[in-house]
C-alpha cells in the first residue's frame, strides 16, 4: 500500500523549491497521464469499497492540494519575476521630466481683470464696456469736471489730431454710457484701457487698465458701498485683511473715499511695500455726485448710487510682487511665462 500522505508531502516540498520549468516537470510527475497520483487513482479499482472510499478521498485531496500548490507557486513566481523586472527597469526621475514643448501663459493683467470681474460678477454685477476714444463730455463734463478745473491737472490727456476727441483718462465715462442706456437699478463693472499723457517710469505708464464699478437705485447708500468693497477685498485679497476708508476727493463722487487695505505682506506691521504705514492704497470710490445723475437725466432725489475705480496694474503689481509697471508692456517671454 502506497503512503499517499507521504507522497503528497514530498511533492509539496518539491513544489516549494521549484522554479517555473521544474514546476511543469513536477506537474507531469504527479498529475500527468502516467503521473504518480494518476496511477494511484487508476489503481483504486483493485481495492474494496471501504478501502476505495478512504484511499480515494486521500488521493483526490492530495491531487487537488498539489494542483493548488503548483498554481500558487506559479503565481508567486510570476509576481516575483515581474517585481524583479520592474526593479531592473527603475529610472532616475531627476532628468526625465522635460517636455520639449513651450509652456504657454496668460498675461498677468488680463488674469487680474478676469479675477476681479469674477468676484464682482458673484456679487451681482454685470460687465459693460465703453469706447476708448471719447468726447470731452463723457470723459469730463458729464462727470462734473468742468473746464479749467485743477482736477484735470491730475489727468493729463491725449487728444486726437483733427478732431474733438480724446483718449479716455479713466473708465468713469463708462458710467455715463451705461446710465444713458439703462434705467435704474444699474449694477455694472466696466473694465478697460485708459490713457494718461505722462512719461513712463517704474510706477507710471501712459497706458493702463481700470475697472469701474457703478450701482444706482433707490436707497443705495454709503454703507452698501463699504459692504460691497469689503466683500471684494476679502474675496480677492484674503479674508483676514482689515480695510479702511479714508476721505478723499473725486469730482464725480460725494462723499468720496480712498480705500486702503491692510498690507498683505506684513499684515499691517509695516514694511517696504506699504512704506511702513501698514496700509496699501487700493482704490477710489464714493457716492455718485448728484450732478452726474442729473447729467444722465436720473432723478437725483429718488435715486442714489455708488461708484468705484480699481487700478488693475496696481493690484497686479501688489499681487505678483512686480516692482516696475513697464514690465507688463515689454512682453519678454521670461516675464510672461512666470504667470
Amino acid at each position: 500500500m502506497v503512503n499517499i500522505e507521504q507522497i503528497a508531502s514530498e511533492a509539496l516540498a518539491k513544489i516549494d523549491g521549484a522554479d517555473i520549468s521544474a514546476l511543469e516537470v513536477l506537474r507531469l510527475e504527479y498529475l500527468g497521464k502516467s503521473g504518480v497520483l494518476t496511477q494511484i487513482l487508476k489503481s483504486l479499482s483493485q481495492y474494496s469499497t471501504e478501502e476505495k472510499k478512504v484511499f480515494g478521498s486521500m488521493a483526490n485531496k492530495a491531487k487537488s492540494d498539489i494542483e493548488k500548490a503548483i498554481e500558487n507557486k506559479k503565481e508567486n513566481l510570476k509576481k516575483a519575476a515581474l517585481d524583479e523586472k520592474m526593479l531592473k527597469e527603475k529610472l532616475d526621475p531627476s532628468p526625465a521630466f522635460y517636455f520639449p514643448f513651450s509652456k504657454g501663459s496668460l498675461h498677468p493683467i488680463l488674469q487680474t481683470i478676469d479675477g476681479i470681474c469674477c468676484v464682482f460678477k458673484s456679487l451681482g454685477f454685470s460687465v459693460a464696456e465703453g469706447p476708448e476714444i471719447e468726447t470731452d463730455w463723457y470723459n469730463f463734463e458729464a462727470l462734473n469736471i468742468p473746464k479749467d478745473h485743477p482736477a484735470r491737472d491730475a489727468q493729463d490727456t491725449f487728444y486726437l489730431e483733427g478732431m474733438n476727441n480724446l483718449l479716455r483718462t479713466h473708465t468713469s465715462p463708462g458710467q455715463i454710457h451705461v446710465m444713458e442706456k439703462q434705467v435704474p437699478p444699474v449694477k455694472v463693472i466696466v473694465p478697460g484701457r485708459v490713457y494718461r499723457n505722462e512719461a513712463s517710469d517704474a510706477s507710471h505708464s501712459s497706458t493702463f487698465h481700470q475697472i469701474e464699478g457703478l450701482a444706482v437705485g433707490e436707497n443705495i447708500t454709503f454703507a452698501d458701498l463699504k459692504n460691497v468693497l469689503a466683500q471684494f477685498v476679502h474675496k480677492f485679497f484674503g479674508n483676514d485683511l482689515d480695510i479702511r476708508f479714508r476721505p478723499s476727493y473725486f469730482q464725480f463722487t460725494e462723499p468720496s473715499a480712498e480705500v486702503d487695505i491692510q498690507c498683505f505682506f506684513c499684515k499691517g506691521k509695516g514694511c517696504r511695500v506699504c512704506k511702513n504705514s501698514g496700509w496699501i492704497e487700493t482704490l477710489g470710490c464714493g457716492m455718485v455726485h448728484p450732478n452726474v445723475l442729473k447729467a444722465v437725466n436720473y432723478d437725483a432725489e429718488k435715486y442714489s448710487g455708488y461708484a468705484f475705480g480699481i487700478g488693475v496694474e496696481r493690484v497686479a503689481m501688489l499681487k505678483y510682487g512686480i516692482d516696475d509697471i513697464r514690465l507688463f508692456y515689454e512682453n519678454d517671454l521670461r516675464f510672461l511665462k512666470q504667470f
Partner: protein
C-alpha cells in the same frame, strides 16, 4: 505743503503727539506724514573745543580735544570749520542719533575717537548743513543739547485733494484738527486802525474779484528776526528780507498769497489791475522773460506790468534794502484765469497753486491786516492808506440740509447733535429749522456747494470707519453671465496658451515708420504724443506683436509664440481684434528623441493647422485669400470665412519684413476680427452625433496628382464620398511626396489613411474595398488623380 507741528499749536489747542496728529488728519481726508520727528537724538551735550591738531594719518581729519566741563575727550572730526574755542554738540559714547545710530568707541585711521562732533543734519535739525553745529559761545557746558535748543518741533508733510485749497495754511490745518477734536481755532489778534483812503488802485478786469492794497511808509528793510526765519525754513521757504518774509509768513499762516511792491519804483503812483496786452512782456522775479496775452491778468503801473497777478512778481518792482514805502497786495483772482496763465507760461508758484484752488473772501481781508500789523511790528513804519475794491457783491453760500437725507445717503443715522457739531467746528453757521438745518458756509470753503457736500463733511468728520456696514445680503442677485472676454476670445486664449503660446499686452500706440514698413495705414494721430514711438493709434495688432517677437528672439529665445487680444483703431472706429504670431522651432531638442526629424517649424502649414485647431466650429472655413494684406507672403496666406464673410486671415509674413530676424525662419501670423464675431458667434453649438460601436477597418493609399491641382478639390471628393457612402468616417494625410524621376515632373503624391466603419454592423473587407474603389474611380474620373503603383 510742509507744516510745523508747533506752529499748528498756536491755532488750536491739542495734546496729541505728531504721529497721532498725522493719523487724525489722514483719517479725515488730509493725507499727512511726519517728515522729521523733532529732536531724534539722545546723549548729546554741549562741549567746548580746547585744542585742534592735525590727524597723524589723514590730511582732512582733525584730532580735537573737547571738554564737557567735567571730563576731557579726544575726538576725531572731519569738519573743516572746527576750531578751538567753539562750543559744539558732542555725541558721547552711547549717544543715539536720528535713524537709531548709536555712537560707539571706534578707531578712525588708527586713532581712537571718544565720541563725535555733530552737524545739524546729523542731528536731524536740518535737511542739509555744512560743517559741525556751532552753539552760542556762552552756552553752558555739559548740558543736554535739547535743553539748549529749547523748542522741539516736528515737520508734517500735508497733501491736499484739489478741492481743499483752504487747508494750505497752518490755520486751515488747525481748523481740520479742531473739527475732529471739537475745538474752535484761535485766530491771530489784529489791530485795524481807521485810515483815510485815497484812491491809488484801479481795478479794470473781471479776472480780479477783490483787491486790497495797503501803503506802508517808513519801513526799514532788514533780515527777519529769528522766529520768522525759523518758521519759514521749517516750511521750506527761504528767508529774503523782513518785508518779503512777512508776506510769505502770512501765506503759510492764513493761506492768503500776498505780494509787496516798492512803490517808489513804479512809474506812477497808480496800481492798475488789468488784462495784459497781447505781446506785452515782463521779467519776473525768477529772472526770466515772459510774453503775455490778453487772457493774462497783470498788476501794472501806467507804463508796464509790474507783476503777473497771482503767479509771480516782476523783477524791477521788488523790495530791496533801499525800499522805504511798501505797497502790500492781498487779492482774490479768478482761479481759472490764474490756472490758464500758469499753464500757458509753464510757471507755477506757491502763490498760483493757492489761487488756482480758490481763496476765502474773508481771509484776504484778515491777511491784509495781519501782514500790515507784522510789518509795523518788525520793520517799523506807518500805514498811509488802505483800499479795498471788489468786483462782485460777495455773499456767503447758504445750503439747506435735510437731516433725513444724511441717513438716506450714508445708510446710517448719525445723531443730529453729532452732525451739527461736525459742521459747526468747521466754521459753518447753523440755523436749525425742524428737520432741516440752514447752513451758512464760510468764505474759505468754496468747495461746499450743495447738500451732498455737507453730507460728506459730516461723514468725514464723524469717520468713514464709524459708519457700520449693513448685514450682508442673504440672496445675491445673479446677472447674466457675461464676461470681459467674448466667448471666442476665451476659447482662443485657453487653447493657444495650452499650445505653448504666451499672451502679451501692448500699448495702443505705434510709430508711423513701423506701420509703413508693414504696409499699414493709420487713422488716428495723437495731437500731443509723448514721443515719436507713440504718435498714432495702432490700426492692427501686427506691428507691436512683431516687435515683441523680434525682442524675444534678439534676447536669445530660440522660438517665440505670442498672442494678443486688444483693440485696433481704423476708419470704422475701435475694433476688438485677436492675433497670434509665431516663429522658430515648435519643439525644442530632447535627449529622449534620438532622431531629429521631429522638429516642425511654425510655417504656413503648421501655423494653419493651429488656426484650424483653435477655430471653435465647422462654420469657420479656411479658404484662399483673394485679397491678401500687404504684409503677407502672397503665396502663403489664407482667409478665415465665417458664414460667408471674411473674418480673418493667416499666413507667413513677407520675407522683406523678416529680413532682420537672426534665425532666418518664417514668421507665421494670424488675425481675426472679434468685433464682428462677438455678435454673430456666441459660444459653440454642439449637438451630439451618434458614433458606431462596431470595429473599424483602415486602408492606406497613395495618390498621384497634378501639382497644380488644388488640394481642396481632392478633399472635396473625399467629403462627397463620405456623405454618399456613409462608411468612410475619417481620412488623414500622412505624407506628401515629390520626385521628378519617379513620379514625373509635374506630379505630386499624397498618402492618406482611411478609416471605414459601419454604424449598424461589423464592416466586411469587401464592403470597405467597394467604397474605396468608388472613391478611387471618382478621383480618377473627376480629377485624373490615380492610385500610385509600387
Amino acid at each position: 505743503m510742509k507744516a510745523s507741528y508747533n506752529w499748528l499749536k498756536k491755532f488750536v489747542d491739542f495734546d496729541l503727539p505728531p504721529d497721532d496728529i498725522a493719523r487724525l488728519l489722514t483719517s479725515i481726508g488730509v493725507e499727512t506724514s511726519v517728515l522729521s520727528l523733532g529732536l531724534g537724538f539722545s546723549g548729546v551735550v554741549s562741549a567746548k573745543v580746547l585744542d585742534v591738531q592735525k590727524h597723524p594719518n589723514a590730511d582732512k581729519l582733525h584730532l580735537c580735544s573737547v571738554t564737557d566741563g567735567t571730563n576731557d575727550y579726544s575726538v576725531v572730526c572731519g569738519a573743516p570749520n572746527v576750531a578751538a574755542g567753539q562750543t559744539v554738540a558732542l555725541s558721547k559714547i552711547g549717544a543715539v542719533l536720528p535713524g537709531n545710530i548709536e555712537i560707539k568707541k571706534s578707531k578712525i585711521r588708527g586713532v581712537e575717537s571718544e565720541g563725535m562732533l555733530c552737524s545739524e543734519s546729523e542731528l536731524g535739525l536740518k535737511e542739509k548743513s555744512e560743517g559741525i553745529f556751532v552753539l552760542p559761545e556762552n552756552a553752558p557746558l555739559g548740558v543736554p543739547l535739547e535743553k539748549i535748543l529749547g523748542e522741539n518741533d516736528s515737520i508734517l508733510e500735508i497733501e491736499i485733494t484739489t478741492n481743499r485749497g483752504d487747508v494750505l495754511s497752518h490755520l486751515g490745518i488747525a481748523r481740520e484738527i479742531g473739527a475732529k477734536l471739537k475745538k474752535n481755532p484761535i485766530l491771530p489778534v489784529i489791530k485795524t486802525p481807521k485810515l483815510s483812503s485815497f484812491s491809488i488802485v484801479k481795478l479794470e478786469s473781471d479776472m480780479c474779484l477783490r483787491y486790497i492794497g495797503c501803503v506802508i511808509s517808513g519801513v526799514k528793510v532788514a533780515p527777519s528776526p529769528k522766529w520768522i526765519c525759523e518758521s519759514l525754513e521749517k516750511c521750506g521757504v527761504r528767508p529774503i528780507n523782513n518785508i518779503v518774509d512777512i508776506t510769505n509768513y502770512v501765506m503759510l499762516e492764513l493761506g492768503q498769497p500776498m505780494h509787496a511792491f516798492d512803490i517808489s519804483k513804479l512809474a506812477s503812483k497808480k496800481v492798475i489791475v488789468r488784462a495784459a496786452k497781447d505781446g506785452e512782456t515782463i521779467t519776473a522775479l525768477d529772472g526770466r522773460n515772459y510774453e503775455l496775452d490778453a487772457q493774462t491778468l497783470v498788476i501794472a503801473d501806467e507804463e508796464k506790468p509790474i507783476a503777473i497777478a497771482g503767479v509771480m512778481g516782476g523783477e524791477y518792482s521788488g523790495i530791496d534794502a533801499q525800499t522805504q514805502t511798501v505797497f502790500l497786495e492781498s487779492a482774490i483772482f479768478s482761479p481759472s484765469s490764474i490756472r490758464r496763465t500758469s499753464k500757458k507760461l509753464n510757471l507755477a508758484s506757491d502763490s498760483s497753486y493757492r489761487f488756482e484752488r480758490g481763496l476765502g473772501w474773508d481771509i484776504a481781508e484778515l491777511a491784509s491786516w495781519r501782514a500790515a500789523n507784522l510789518i509795523l511790528e518788525v520793520a517799523g513804519g506807518k500805514i498811509e492808506t488802505r483800499e479795498d475794491i471788489a468786483k462782485i457783491d460777495y455773499e456767503k453760500t447758504e445750503i439747506t440740509l435735510r437731516i433725513d437725507r444724511v441717513e438716506k445717503l450714508l445708510g446710517y443715522a448719525i445723531e443730529e447733535d453729532e452732525l451739527a457739531s461736525a459742521l459747526r467746528f468747521l466754521g459753518i453757521d447753523l440755523q436749525p429749522r425742524g428737520g432741516v438745518i440752514l447752513c451758512v458756509i464760510p468764505s474759505w470753503r468754496n468747495d461746499i456747494k450743495e447738500e451732498v457736500d455737507l453730507i460728506e463733511e459730516i461723514a468725514r468728520i464723524y469717520g468713514y470707519d464709524n459708519i457700520p456696514k449693513p448685514p450682508e445680503e442673504k440672496t445675491q442677485i445673479r446677472t447674466k453671465n457675461n464676461s470681459f472676454f467674448p466667448h471666442i476670445v476665451e476659447s482662443f486664449r485657453t487653447k493657444l496658451s495650452g499650445l505653448g503660446f504666451s499672451e502679451v499686452l501692448n500699448y495702443s500706440f505705434c510709430e508711423i515708420k513701423e506701420l509703413e514698413s508693414l504696409g499699414l495705414k493709420y487713422h488716428y494721430k495723437i495731437a500731443n504724443p509723448i514721443s515719436k514711438e507713440n504718435e498714432v493709434l495702432r490700426p492692427s495688432l501686427l506691428a507691436s506683436l512683431y516687435k515683441n517677437l523680434a525682442l524675444n528672439l534678439d534676447r536669445g529665445a530660440e522660438s517665440a509664440a505670442l498672442f494678443e487680444y486688444g483693440k485696433t483703431y481704423s476708419q470704422s472706429g475701435e475694433k476688438k481684434m485677436f492675433a497670434a504670431i509665431a516663429c522658430g522651432n515648435v519643439w525644442r531638442e530632447w535627449w529622449s528623441w534620438t532622431e531629429k526629424k521631429i522638429c516642425p517649424k511654425y510655417d504656413f502649414y503648421f501655423g494653419g493647422g493651429i488656426v484650424k485647431n483653435i477655430l471653435p466650429s465647422e462654420d469657420f472655413i479656411i479658404s484662399e485669400n483673394l485679397a491678401p494684406e500687404k504684409y503677407f507672403h502672397y503665396g502663403k496666406t489664407a482667409s478665415v470665412i465665417y458664414r460667408g464673410k471674411t473674418v480673418g486671415g493667416f499666413g507667413v509674413l513677407k520675407p522683406s519684413i523678416c529680413e532682420c530676424l537672426k534665425n532666418g525662419d518664417e514668421v507665421f501670423y494670424f488675425e481675426i476680427d472679434v468685433e464682428t464675431l462677438q455678435d454673430s458667434y456666441c459660444g459653440k453649438d454642439s449637438y451630439y452625433k451618434r458614433y458606431s460601436k462596431f470595429p473599424s477597418l483602415k486602408r492606406d493609399i497613395s495618390l498621384i496628382a497634378d501639382k497644380k491641382l488644388p488640394f481642396s478639390k481632392i478633399e472635396k471628393t473625399f467629403k462627397n464620398v463620405m456623405k454618399t457612402g456613409n462608411v468612410l468616417k475619417e481620412y488623414s494625410l500622412f505624407s506628401v511626396y515629390e520626385d521628378a524621376a519617379k513620379l514625373g515632373e509635374d506630379k505630386i503624391s499624397y498618402s492618406f489613411r482611411l478609416t471605414y466603419r459601419d454604424n449598424e454592423k461589423t464592416l466586411t473587407d469587401e464592403e470597405a474595398n467597394k467604397d474605396m474603389n468608388n472613391l478611387l474611380s471618382k478621383l480618377d474620373k473627376e480629377l485624373s488623380v490615380t492610385l500610385r503603383q509600387s
